[in-house]
Every structure is written in structure tokens, then in C-alpha cells.
């Protein structure tokens, strides 16, 4: 696949949140408003970029049996860096995201891309993949956070859009509301895909290589 395709697949076709359903914990927990979603998305993108680059360049001499601990150490390094940068320059955002910044270490997207993509691909492709996946993740978080924030207060990035919206709709601000809005987003995305496939005279199917079989984290014995 070309660099452009590696980059663009993360935005729609293999969107990490809406298609791969990875990293649900930060997705549901920090998207109370669009600003936090944007911050979380950019922080994860930075970590993903760093880890994909290093994993891809070190793939030839990391022993296969201990590759997961190695990946975790690489990821943790970048998470610490991002965390310190946030603490130094954006203390308010760091406070709002709280524990979810250190928890990027165990974010499935980062480890998943390291294991499923960067460990098998060239450095250039890994960087393109990291940027695309990060952008897709950020977009999904901003859209989710924006919808939740708008439904709750009628605001977007704390700018009042609907004058006189004085009753807070607290449901969309609660964790249950996050699940509902995410479910609606996924349903809307599938609907769009089905419509597109119908126009071309096909039946929509999710990409086959995205199910459990493509990941080989579980079968350690055949190494």
C-alpha cells in the first residue's frame, strides 16, 4: 500500500474508535467536552507517532518472545515525555485529563498498532500509519466530545452557540450518555457505509482483516 493509503485508512475505513473499537476507556471517560477530547487525541497521537517510529526501527533486533514488554517500555517512555510536557505547558488540560494521560501506556491503539503494524512495516509506512490513526482517533474524540458538550450545555469549545440554553441536559454528560452517543456515531457511520455500498450495488461488509484473526498477540506458542 502507498503512503497516502496508509495515512488515510485511519481516518475513515479503519478508524480506531468507530471501526476498530480500540481505546474505549479514554474515549468514554474524557470526552465530556470537545476541548478535553482534542487534548487527549493529540497526546495519544504524539505517543503513537513516537512508539510506531521506534518500534519499526528496532523490529529487527527485539527478540520475539519479549517483544510486548519491549513495546510497553518504548510506549511508556513517550507517555512520560508527553505527560511532562503537558504538566509544564498546559497544566489545566493535564488536570482535566488526570489519570488518563499515564494510562495511554495501556491504550490498545498504541500497543495494537505497534504489534499489528509497526513490527511488520517500514519506518515510513509506520509513521504514515501513526499519523493517520492518530488523526482518526482525535477526530472521533473531538466529534464525540463536541456532541456531548453541545447536548449538555449548548456550547462547543466553551463558546455558547444557543443563546438562552439554561437547562443542562446532564444525561449526555454522564458515562451512560457517552455510550449512547458513541453507539449513535457507530450506527451513523455504518449507515453511511451501507448507503455507499448500496449505490455501488454491493452489500456492505466490515473489512475482513480487522477481526480477531489478524492479531497474533494471543498465540505465543508458535513463535
Amino acid at each position: 500500500m502507498s503512503l497516502g493509503k496508509e495515512f488515510s485508512k485511519g481516518i475513515w475505513k479503519e478508524n480506531p474508535v468507530l471501526v476498530l473499537l480500540l481505546g474505549m476507556c479514554p474515549v468514554l471517560a474524557v470526552t465530556g467536552d470537545a476541548y478535553n477530547g482534542l487534548g487527549m487525541g493529540i497526546a495519544s497521537t504524539c505517543v503513537l507517532l513516537g512508539s510506531n517510529t521506534v518500534v519499526s526501527s528496532c523490529k529487527s533486533f527485539i527478540p520475539k518472545k519479549v517483544r510486548i514488554p519491549c513495546y510497553i517500555i518504548i510506549i511508556a517512555t513517550f507517555v512520560t515525555m508527553v505527560g511532562l510536557v503537558l504538566k509544564a505547558y498546559l497544566p489545566a488540560l493535564d488536570k482535566a485529563l488526570g489519570i488518563f494521560i499515564p494510562l495511554i501506556v495501556v491504550n490498545c491503539i498504541v500497543l495494537g498498532r505497534a504489534e499489528a503494524f509497526a513490527a511488520k512495516s517500514t519506518i515510513a509506512n509506520s509513521i504514515a500509519d501513526a499519523l493517520g490513526m492518530g488523526l482518526g482517533f482525535t477526530l472521533a474524540l473531538v466529534v464525540l466530545g463536541g456532541i456531548r458538550e453541545f447536548l449538555t450545555n449548548g456550547t462547543l469549545f466553551t463558546i455558547q452557540f444557543v443563546p438562552g440554553w439554561n437547562v443542562s441536559f446532564l444525561l449526555s454528560n454522564s458515562p451512560a450518555g457517552a455510550f449512547i452517543v458513541l453507539g449513535l456515531l457507530i450506527a451513523g457511520m455504518n449507515w453511511l457505509n451501507m448507503m455507499k455500498a448500496k449505490k455501488q450495488g454491493k452489500v456492505f461488509e466490515p473489512p475482513k482483516h480487522l477481526d480477531c484473526r489478524q492479531c497474533n498477540i494471543c498465540n505465543m506458542e508458535d513463535i
Binding site: 441536559f169 446532564l170 449526555s172 449512547i180
Partner: protein
Amino acid sequence: MAEGKKTDIKLPDPSKLIVSSSPHLHNGSSVRKIMWLVILALMPSCIMGVYYFGFAAFRVLAVCVISSLIFEYIFARMMGRNNDWKDGSAIITGLLMGMLLSAGMPWWVCVIGCFIAIVFGKQVYGGIGFNPFNPACVGRIALIIAFPKMMTTWVPTRFMDKSFFVFDKSLLSPEKIEQIKGMSHLPFFHSVIDGVTCATPLGVVQTPFKLGTATEQLVGTVTDWQHVWQYAIGNIGGCIGETSAIALIIGGIFLIAMKVIKWYIPVSYIGTVAVFSTIVHFSMSPPALPGMVYQVLTGGLLIGAFFMATDMVTTPMTCKGGIIFGVGCGIITCVIRNWGGYPEGVMFSIVLMNALTPLIDRVTANRPFGKKQTSKTEA
């Protein structure tokens, strides 16, 4: 082939043969008939609600029923089930939804509640018969999470005055009483006044109990016979449909007599609440929480026990399972009422037990005919 023609036995048209799994016996009732019976059973409490809360209550009920029907029509069509909306189940969901709201609710809150009840409570799971939770409970819980302040603000009934001091805090100001009395020449309109709020009996007792300021005198006042009579006829603050205990019991007994619902869920539910609250009442000295009559007659227990915990789709099928369901609901209700963050726990308890229904059904499945009971000593 000529012979074959002679002995040709006329087989029925295979496209008209119905091959189905059990049960094969049908008692002739239809979803539609059951739904109309339930609506009929809800009528006494609706009428009492409209009688006590005036035109505002009728408006809330009408908005809920109409918006539920519209949402059901739109979303059932969107999902390709064109005839689903005709069975009348949306009318019941809307009616129950309206009965669980205060008469002073703005119309858009009613519409949001009905949207959540119909779409997220029912249609997304595949329509009638496939919903794991009671739709009206889902809508009501979504509303109390979304608008906690609005959902715990109540309007007084048309017949309240100063003598029922426990029912109302703001009515104590004389101007407000005069204001309400001045409106009484308009028989069905005056409870629409904004800004007159009122506490429910549960709120009057539960809030001081949780703050630790409940007194024996307060408990004694709310449980004297005069107040209990008010709870029974429904002259108390609360949701439109849940205040009049007698009307709800009439509706419930009607449903049991018509064999639409089974007796064991309401009986075990109400019985558990009665026993639990009696134990709590007598375990404290001086008693800071009123006893069983009060706990059973006030709040949403009766409407929940008769009309929502008996929903055929979301509750266990067997008798044993129904009793487990009722006891579980009762315990959760009492725990939330006495020690939880909300004054009322009926809706939460029913939805929580709905989630357990598949497990209860699995544990209490009936033994198939012809199978030997395996004794435990053999194994």
C-alpha cells in the same frame, strides 16, 4: 407415472403449513387485546391524577402519549417494521411515562423522555418483545439523570391547604395560599401556577432521615390515620399516576383478574417492601423512618409493582423466578429509599432486576416432561 396419478394423495400446500416451535396452544388473546386491557387498568389512576392535579396533568399525559406514538411510528418504519406501531404498546409506554412525571413538567421534557423510552428503550433492540428493560423505566431514569432538579420538583394538588403541613414547604407563605384560593373558581386550571412547589411524602421523611434530623414527632405525624387516608386517595404531591393508591390497586386487581399479569410479582414485591420497612422501623429507637403502611402507599411502589415489574417481556417466566424478581426489586427499592442518593428507588430496582431476568430464567427453568429428576446423592 400413470399409476402415480391414480394414488395421488392430495397434500396440503407446503407454503401454508406452519412449522413452529412450542407453545402450540393459543388462548386467542392478541398483543393488541392485552394492551387495551392494560390501558383500561391504568385509567382509574389517570382519572384520579387529572382530578387532583387539574388540566396540567391531562396536558402532560396527552403530550406523552402522542409523542410516544409518533416516535414509535417513525422509528418502527425506519427499521423496516411498518406495522409495529399499531399494536398499542407505544400508548402504554407513553401513558406510563406521563404518569411517572410531575404535572408541572414542561412539554419538551416529556418529549425527550418519550423519545428515550421508545427509541433507546425499545426500538434499538428490535421493537416489541425484544427489549431487555422496561421502556418507561428507561425513559424515567434517563430523565432523572438528565434533569435531577426538575424531576424532583412537584406541584401541589388542587385540594391542599395549610393543614397538611408535611406536604408542602412553600405553601406555608400566606400569599401563596391566597393566590391558590383565588384561582379555585377555575376548577381544572389552577395547579398550572409556576413556582408553587411541593414535597412528596417520601421526600418529607427521607431527606431529614439522611441528614440525621428526623424526629419521632415527624414520623408520627406522617403516619397518622388522616394522612394515610390522603395517601390512599391520592391527595399528595408526586407524579400524576403514582399518588392514588386505591386507583392503582383497583387497576392491578383488574389485571390479575383478567389474567393479564400474574399475582406473584406484585405480591412478592410489595410484601418484601412491607417486611423490610417494618424491620427497619422497629430496629431504630426512636423510629426515624415510618413503617410499612407508609412505605407501601407512598411513592411509586404500587404503579411499579403492578404495571412495570409485571411487564411480560422483561420479567422472568416462571413462578419461582417471578418471586425472586419481586423480592430483589423490594430489597433494592428499600435500600435506595433509605440509604441511597435518590428519594425513590422503584424505577432503578426494576431496571436492575430486568438486567438479571435472563439469569433468573436460566436458574428457575421448569423441568421438561419425562425427564427424571436427578437426585443430589447420586451425583
